[in-house]
Symmetry: C2
Subunit: 233 residues, 2 copies
């Protein structure tokens, strides 16, 4: 049975790395002793080692040991043998690029379907959707494809941001960008605000946290979804 936590962000303002999620993760990963970390997204370009150290430190608090996928000789085998997996945030283009270059997209999809507990934050959540076309990140590398894991039947827009009132900036709002996506695509997009996450247990997807999430669908006005079980096609 599929078992995922898909979080908008690793960190909320004024709080430590993963701190707001830790009580949830302690329960979610209750039976887990060892976590495989995928640091490919490299936030601010930090090294795999440095990024893994950050995750390791956070999970030490709930007595889970963390090892980076780059520490294994064969990343595919590392994923196949993982007890649980966490993909951290950063740049989604580079994350997807490395997932393809290391040829682990298919195996990652398989183990998620087989029920290996998975945590994604930000870029690590974007890849749970059908494709990465709703990332906010800059295309700093050209991945061989935008297609991602389809672990959920819609796309994620992480760090969803409401339009800034009275802004004089003429760049597109997040909502405008997602509407442009729907000119070319039919896939539903869920705007997950910072502090929100999805819990996926088998086919049941629930919105968690204290905030509503904004659902965008082609040719339909966007709607706010309340915390609880979601039905999105």
């Amino acid at each position: 049975m599929k078992k995922l936590i898909i979080a908008s962000t690793s960190t909320i303002h004024g709080s430590g790395y993963l701190e707001y999620l830790m009580p949830t993760l302690a329960v979610f990963f209750a039976d887990v002793k060892n976590l495989l970390f995928i640091p490919y997204a490299r936030p601010s370009g930090i090294s795999y080692d440095d990024y893994t150290a950050i995750a390791k430190k956070a999970f030490a608090k709930i007595a889970i040991d963390v090892k980076g996928i780059h520490e294994f000789e064969n990343p595919k085998v590392a994923i196949q043998n993982a007890e649980a997996i966490f993909t951290g945030g950063g740049n989604t283009f580079e994350l997807v690029n490395q997932l393809y270059k290391n040829d682990v997209i298919t195996v990652l999809k398989e183990v998620l379907n087989n029920g290996i507990p998975y945590l994604g934050t930000s870029a690590g959540s974007n890849i749970c959707g059908i494709n990465m076309m709703n990332t906010n990140d800059m295309p700093i590398v050209y991945p061989p494809s935008f297609t991602t894991l389809s672990a959920i039947p819609f796309n994620i827009n992480a760090h969803y941001l409401d339009p800034i009132k009275d802004s004089k900036h003429m760049g597109e709002t997040r909502e405008t960008r997602i509407k442009e996506f729907h000119v070319f695509n039919k896939i539903a997009v869920l705007g997950l605000r910072e502090g929100s996450w999805l819990e996926v247990l088998g086919d049941t997807i629930s919105l968690k946290g204290n905030l509503t999430a904004r659902l965008f669908q082609k040719d339909i006005n966007a709607v706010e979804l309340e915390v609880g079980v979601l039905t999105i096609k």
Copy 2:
């Protein structure tokens, strides 16, 4: 001799479409009677016809007639025969996608090198760089390549936005995103604020408007460039 205007935005806050640029364009396009418009970027997904009508209306004020590239049977021939060219803003991924799909990248590069006057705004400016890796747009379509026109020897970040002071949002700032680009790439990036534009005359590139522009280079602290002739490698 190359002759380009590369503007951060078509429209500044509280002003009409291209209004702030019109005095400049009247001089720049002084000898031009007919302008070829490339509407491929489709801001908010509007149709080529609707977008071309907007450009047509703006240029009527300086007695220039506008025709959309989609109105010609052969887009390549349309570019070869153009007196002057304007590529409007919108989504850079879709713009680049269509430039490749219509097989006009090479011919567009050629005519720009041959001195056909060119105006780009926003996405139409991004494509003047070496690649489109510094766009702010959402990857709503997957273009066959990120490589663009290399009309200038660096990349553009249009609508450049300074970090918002005291923001509680945890998504990356523009500066962080461009720094991540420089982990993987050596190309210099010029952050052009709204209201700024570059004037390219042969090998001379000048910053115009009232604002400084922010230059990002690999392994060097970002610097503010004053209005006037630029030297960027």
